[in-house]
Assembly symmetry: D2
Homo-oligomer: 287 residues x 4
């Protein structure tokens, strides 16, 4: 892949990142790259905008540089994956799983990019559909996880899970996390799920505080269809959240279908950057 | 203690228990005991009512027989503890931690009661106060647990915990469970808390899905004062629930104070009934 | 696959299974199948022996029927996988993950087998090599797991893990479980590992009681090479066990290499038998 | 308590600590305190020795200053508790739960000691007895924990636990940790046990990797008698370790009795030093 045009995406609605974005652009341009501004960024700094090009995203930019935290990448990922534009993440001071390049490493990493010293990691995304009365009531894509969890209630919620049409379990818990490998180090980890190498073709299903203690996380193939029946939620209250944002209130009677999304997210991994280094740093593995 | 007058408390608002209550009363009366109906029960069957006596509860009945599940006992416990009336729990088919006598054992257990073959276990209850703008915004008693948990949000909530005025931790999690020993086998267990022998003078504090994996359950003395500052909850949404019922919405800026209640709940333990038997049965310890 | 010759493998050294094996053979022969006895079985009952045929195993039998518990299957699996002979497991009264057919279902399952109502599941096995002084000190195959664990010591053991040549972690713990998906419901589950669908192409690595609480199970691709350096074990004492049998004492300075074995184990899944049914039954998921 | 004579106990058999001990003695003497050397320390530096006084320990010294890590305190604790000599722990660079004073704080903490700005925390110790053929085969004291664990075997061990004569469970696991509150932050924490405030009058019992997932840690009163029957250990191999040192091999047929020791360990808590500060630091609670 020849990299000449870079889309710059910054943390949304945070004007304090403007000076950083200006600096990042300078570094990119100094290295002979053309820079176009993503929609979130163009609100903060002036310059040529991607949205003004009236062309498909992958015709306008070769890669996207996302500056912020992991949340910024989660926001940009849906757009980028739908046009198969590879993303590289730059953090604003605090190392992220998806934004693992620090500002101080920026020039060195650009050099690696220009020299081709990188690989593209394909990350599985989750397609979530809520079926109600035989109609699709909601559809959306998650990078990390789709979470069914109790809302305004002090009680457990109950649901039934099927995988590829086969009954798995009737569960009483605070909820259920269906996570991609990318999301395995996020909420899923707090609920007892394992760390999954980000490029694996699997999905994890982890109950949140299950009443039955042996209801443990399950790892299945990403080609499986997970269906969750919100059977008795009507008596309590539950929500569906994608990547930490509530997208749908569940009133009972819905079927939530989860399958891998058609498109994957292409993440650029600079050769000198290792996932296990990030894990050790973020999780405090000091030995 | 001489037992001659028994208060009968049944599952609230469930008319299907009426035949069982009538049968229980028959057995009690056949054994020479006077039976008075608690408020929940008197809605279901006819008979002499406790509420009509115009006397303090502990002048009207010697013990309370609570027929239902653990939830029925949780409901009756506040009233009974405030008058120090001992309670004995009879389950309606499904063994409970607090209702460990089955209908088939009823006569045998009554004999034990009349013969004095029992002991009284004092169970610690939790007094919860919510302080807002230097005023008490809410007060209540919990038998099992007081739970601060996120409500209608897909995000973590943040709070600070102090014990006896000393800073313990700043936590990001789905919430926090402060449990009595009685509550240690309820929600707290699902969140990773230990099983605590029910008569111990301790309180457990367990985070729910904490972001920092080393934020583990803490056991402290029941005389300690736990204070939780809902500092940044305003940006998200959280609730306070006692024994599984939401009692208070938290908007940020509240201090939730938890201390043992002045009164304890007196639970009658029939000599032939052992807590470890119930644990094995309820938790499926088959070896 | 045309099934006409069945190898019968029974629980090793347990003469009490002889009557069951005789009965199983009767059922097989009544259904027109030729039965040959595996080495473990031929010690218990008389009949035509596989070992007397002087031919490769897969020329002598089409499938192997393994009668016993999961341990019996673990023993037979190495032989069967090396000749790619599919296995079907029959339990002696207690449902197993690998022996999920009960004696009462035997006839019905045979009918399914003969009618072709089954599928073949390929199960990944682990190839384990111990390298010491640049020589291979031990090599072996595991169906469930390869476990490095402390032996006669009350102290932690320390080791370093690399995956595909990249440093993962320096760990202090009671040991480390490297498990196949098949082994995910065995020891690994007790140590906090997830349930992995048995046909996935992944391997899990789970520390046993790690000193650093964030040292959580990791799921990697089965094509990865795991290398564990027993660096400081010399000061303590450790063992390597495959499928629960100690195969090697570790004295420090060894490199334990784990990769998927060249051959997979072919397990026969009768169409009416579902892995999730077994999970619910074995783990007591009652909902 | 008037403090004028301090016993100095250093890390055993580590001559590198000699200069530190000399420096600590200087600081103590400069503050008007008389210093006598404990047996471990007197091997490293010259000076007046406790052992030469021919008097009971508590007649010779008012308090013991233990310089090293938590392991050094574990070693000194048995002697100190048996004579009720309060201990204060000074670490050699790495904060310990029992050695929470750093060298840089030493002078300031001495001032607190001399001014009486401290409290004495009574720490429960465990008395362990192994009964075999109706005779006491071993007896010993543990500060942190008594651990029954599998030794040279790749299999689970089985045992039965009774508390105060009542049957608790038949367990199959890697072993069992019986811990004091002081030990709750050591091995017990790695096995899933809770953090217990160090002065509580309780004992925790935590299975190590139990086969039955609902076999969770149990907290009982310190006055309870725990009895563990090593019933089937003969078929495998197990050890009993106190504070991480194997003291006894178990061959099956033993009863291991655990109860609180008659004497408690008196730990000096400088007023400015808080247990929760140590927890946050040691466990990496960053919020």
């Amino acid at each position: 892949m020849d990299i000449s045009k870079v889309g710059l995406f910054g943390k949304f609605g945070d004007s304090s990142v403007a000076p950083v974005l200006v600096k990042v652009r300078e570094v990119l341009e100094k290295n002979g790259l053309k820079v176009l501004l993503g929609s979130t960024t163009s609100a903060e700094i002036d310059g040529e905008r991607i949205d003004d090009q009236n062309q498909p995203l992958n015709a306008v930019i070769d890669i996207a540089m996302v500056v912020g935290g992991d949340g910024t990448m989660l926001n940009a990922a849906r757009l980028l994956s739908s046009h198969d534009v590879p993303a590289v993440g730059v953090n604003l001071g605090r190392l992220g799983f998806l934004t693992d390049i620090s500002l101080s490493e920026l020039e060195q990493c650009l050099e690696s990019l220009i020299n081709g010293d990188y690989s593209i990691e394909k990350r599985t995304l989750l397609q979530t559909s809520v079926i109600k009365d035989n109609e699709i009531a909601f559809q959306g894509i998650a990078v990390n996880d789709a979470v069914i969890s109790k809302g305004n209630t002090g009680r457990l919620i109950e649901f039934e899970t099927h995988i590829d049409g086969r009954f798995v379990s009737h569960t009483r818990s605070d909820g259920l996390i269906v996570a991609t490998p990318t999301g395995s180090t996020a909420y899923s980890l707090s609920a007892g799920g394992p760390i999954i190498y980000p490029t694996l073709s699997v999905i994890s299903i982890s109950p949140i505080c299950p009443h039955t203690l042996s209801n443990r996380p399950i790892i299945i193939h990403e080609n499986s269809l997970v269906e969750i029946d919100s059977l008795k939620i009507s008596e309590t209250h539950a929500n569906l959240a994608l990547d930490g944002l509530i997208v749908c209130e569940l009133k009972g009677g819905e079927i939530i279908q989860l399958r891998r999304a058609e498109n994957k997210l292409s993440m650029i991994r600079i050769d000198s950057h290792d996932h296990f280094d990030v894990l050790r740093s973020k999780l405090g593995w000091t030995g």
